[in-house]
């Protein structure tokens, strides 16, 4: 058997990294369509849910991915957890490509990388008590299933006193408590990476704040890294160090959270931030100028994918914009023609048909 993943760990490598990862889906739903697709492969008929994304998650870092529904953020998350294998590109965990993982590596990966789902109402087995829910991962990963560990993790997620919750069934918990149990289930195996898919969007505002705070504490106190996916920048800003903005399968902007709120560069990011309602009747926000909806992932425009809705559209937007550093703090990058020399990009895309994020 190959060396254990732990022994091959590269201390300097980021916890998780995706390099130019793509995930395409075949929309054909029956045998005839599938055959037709195979006989005449036409790339346009594929749904390009994630299309050339580079991301690096450092140890103890919390990164957010924001975008509207259909932008590919959930697909990206499922690719990160190994649920979808990338169609192109590579997913690296602690410097090791998952494509070379052995069965044992996968098991270790599945212990160290945990996911928290959007909908706590359907994420927990209704027949299980809280104790059984929390024992299950310990049993699967052959970790001591001690009562102490279960109680300890319940305390961590602020379900106190633990005795009051440990024998309850899912139906006896409120929405916020369910999400805490789901978080406890992820935490009980001491994960290195937590992937969270809109973890507070189904919760009431009064509980939202406490779950956000809990997630933030967990990453700062227990040294886990987190990838937080959401459509809502106003909650992301409370948890994340860095934010990545995604539009139709591609990252259009990356920056530290404060920087992206203070100084958004990409017209899409600007629109996204300006569309957030402000809870203050004295504040006169202008309604959005953006028209239409996110395009169809099956029929994508060439060049910039936001161009048809963009207020700044130029001729050059028919070329694919590169994710390039822009003025600003802490590694701010944007993929927009407004921010770099056009002669460069024409030259770059001429030499490299697949110009883009990998052209750095």
């Amino acid at each position: 058997m190959a060396t254990e993943l732990t022994e091959r760990e590269n201390e300097a490598a980021p916890v998780m990294e995706v390099r130019n990862v793509e995930k395409h889906f075949d929309p054909s739903s029956n045998v005839i369509e599938k055959l037709r697709a195979r006989l005449s492969p036409d790339s346009r008929s594929k749904i390009r849910a994630v299309d050339g994304v580079d991301l690096t998650l450092e140890k103890e870092q919390v990164q957010g991915v924001i975008g509207e529904s259909g932008c590919g953020k959930s697909t990206l998350l499922l690719t990160l957890i190994g649920e979808h294998l990338p169609s192109e590109g590579e997913l690296l965990y602690k410097g090791n490509p998952v494509s070379e993982f052995s069965k044992a590596d996968w098991k270790q990966f599945r212990r160290e990388v945990q996911i928290i789902f959007q909908d706590p109402f359907n994420a927990i087995n209704p027949h299980f008590t809280v104790r059984q829910t929390l024992k299950e991962p310990l049993r699967i990963h052959n970790i001591d299933q001690t009562e102490e560990r279960i109680r300890e993790v319940l305390e961590q997620v602020q379900l106190r006193p633990a005795e009051q919750y440990i024998d309850r069934h899912e139906s006896e918990l409120s929405g916020g408590e369910k999400q805490r149990v789901a978080i406890a289930r992820a935490l009980i195996v001491d994960p290195e990476v937590i992937l969270a898919d809109e973890p507070v969007s189904m919760l009431d505002v009064s509980t939202q704040a406490s779950v956000l705070e809990l997630l933030e504490d967990l990453t700062t106190e227990y040294g886990a890294s987190m990838m937080y996916v959401s459509h809502d920048l106003s909650t992301v800003s409370y948890v994340c160090d860095r934010v990545n903005v995604m539009y139709l399968g591609r990252l259009v902007e990356k920056a530290p959270t404060k920087e992206i709120i203070n100084n958004p560069k990409h017209p899409y990011t600007q629109a996204l931030i300006r569309a957030i309602p402000i809870p203050d009747p004295h504040f006169e926000r202008e309604w959005t100028q953006i028209k239409g909806a996110v395009g169809d992932a099956q029929d994508l425009p060439t060049g910039c994918r936001f161009k048809d809705r963009c207020p700044e559209r130029m001729d050059i937007c028919d070329e694919r914009p590169l994710l390039r550093p822009v003025d600003g703090d802490g590694g701010h990058e944007a993929a927009c023609h407004l921010y770099y020399d056009h002669e460069d990009v024409v030259a770059a895309s001429a030499t490299d048909g697949h110009a883009g994020v990998d052209a750095e």
């Binding site: 939202q208 709120i261 809870p279 009747p281 953006i290």
Partner: protein, 350 residues
């Protein structure tokens, strides 16, 4: 208040269950002015949707209005039979946009045929007149006129939502009740919809009762608000009154719990606990168990909805409302007044 379009007075709604009864709405009072936009906010289970269903005369079969009254243009509507309500109020006067409106279009019928069906049931319009109206409304909500003949699945989520709004306005109702109309939408789509709703009131004379958990949307779109908790109206009034001088602990805390993208560094308020189960008769303040300022008296009798400082348009149901400014001082200070710490989000002060 003679010019009130909808007036709800001391309304109780009770659901019968096998074992006992649940009082989902207790002693609720508020009124909507003609051409007013009214926001009803609260957490899930607070009774806001039940209240809307009571106004729509479409409570579930085990639910009934057990006290109080609902008046529309001065006439009581809470005691109408199903048939009377259908003939004289629904669609013509009050139209309803249900929660998850995106799934409430008939998937097997084109939007124009659904419009014809509605019009035939309530008006003696010619088909051409109905379709002409629908085209006009599609224009107003920002959908291409040519698409009235489409099936619902040919629309995106946001377009379906707008198609429903167009249908709800078809018979020129004076009041539209919308239950979480933007919740399923992305921020940009939500903003597009809010923009249309905002423009609509300049184009036609109608009122909106918007039910939502999102207090930010209400502060941006509506002129009046009611905050509900555990079946009781905690506070109601003009949005600036409720924002500037909140006098119920729940509306104070709720406002501070809401994330504000202008202030990413501000810590969010947490409201511990959950509302009580509301079984039997609710003769206590339903917020008392979660309230940092509760006293024994709060559990002794339901607090009456009373004017704040003699202002009949701003009401709150807290027995300590007079002291609240002092008690909650630390929660009220440092609040924004139209400014943003973030340069990219600049607005103009009202």
């Amino acid at each position: 208040m003679a010019d009130s379009l909808l007036e709800v007075t001391n309304l109780d709604v009770t659901y019968r269950t096998k074992r006992d009864s649940v009082q989902a709405v207790s002693n609720a009072s508020f009124s909507i002015e003609s051409n007013g936009y009214f926001g009803l906010v609260g957490e899930s289970g607070c009774g806001k949707s039940t209240l809307a269903r009571a106004v729509m005369n479409s409570l579930d079969t085990n639910g009934e209005i057990s006290g109080g009254e609902i008046r529309y243009r001065g006439d009581p509507i809470h005691n109408l039979s199903d048939r009377e309500y259908k003939n004289s109020v629904r669609w013509d006067e009050i139209a309803f946009i249900p929660q998850s409106a995106m799934n409430s279009l008939d998937p097997l019928t084109t939007v124009q045929n659904q419009a014809l069906e509605i019009a035939q049931a309530h008006k003696d319009w010619s088909n051409e007149k109905t379709l002409e109206k629908l085209r006009e409304l599609f224009d107003i909500v920002g959908l291409p006129q040519s698409r009235i003949a489409d099936y619902p699945h040919q629309f995106s989520g946001g377009m379906k939502q707008r198609a429903i709004i167009a249908l709800s306005l078809l018979l020129d109702p004076s009041l539209v009740i919308a239950d979480e109309p933007t919740t399923a939408l992305d921020v940009i789509m939500q903003d597009q919809l809010l923009k249309y709703l905002d423009e609509l009131r300049q184009e036609r004379d109608f009122s909106l009762l918007m039910i939502t958990h999102d207090i930010a949307v209400v502060f941006e779109l509506c002129d009046s608000i009611a905050v509900m908790h555990g079946g009781q109206i905690a506070e109601t009034g003009g949005i600036t009154d409720v924002f500037d001088e909140p006098r119920h602990p729940y509306s104070i805390l709720l406002q501070r719990a809401f994330p504000d993208v202008r202030f990413p560094d501000r810590s969010l308020e947490q409201i511990e606990g959950t509302p009580p189960p509301l079984s039997g008769s609710v003769d206590y303040c339903t917020f008392a168990d979660r309230c940092p300022w509760a006293e024994p008296d709060c559990r002794d009798g339901a607090p009456p909805l009373e004017p704040v400082g003699g202002d009949a348009s701003h009401l709150t149901s807290c027995i300590r409302s007079d002291e609240m400014e002092e008690l909650a001082a630390s929660h009220l200070e440092g609040r924004s007044t139209g400014e943003s710490s973030v340069q990219s989000i600049q607005g103009s002060e009202q």
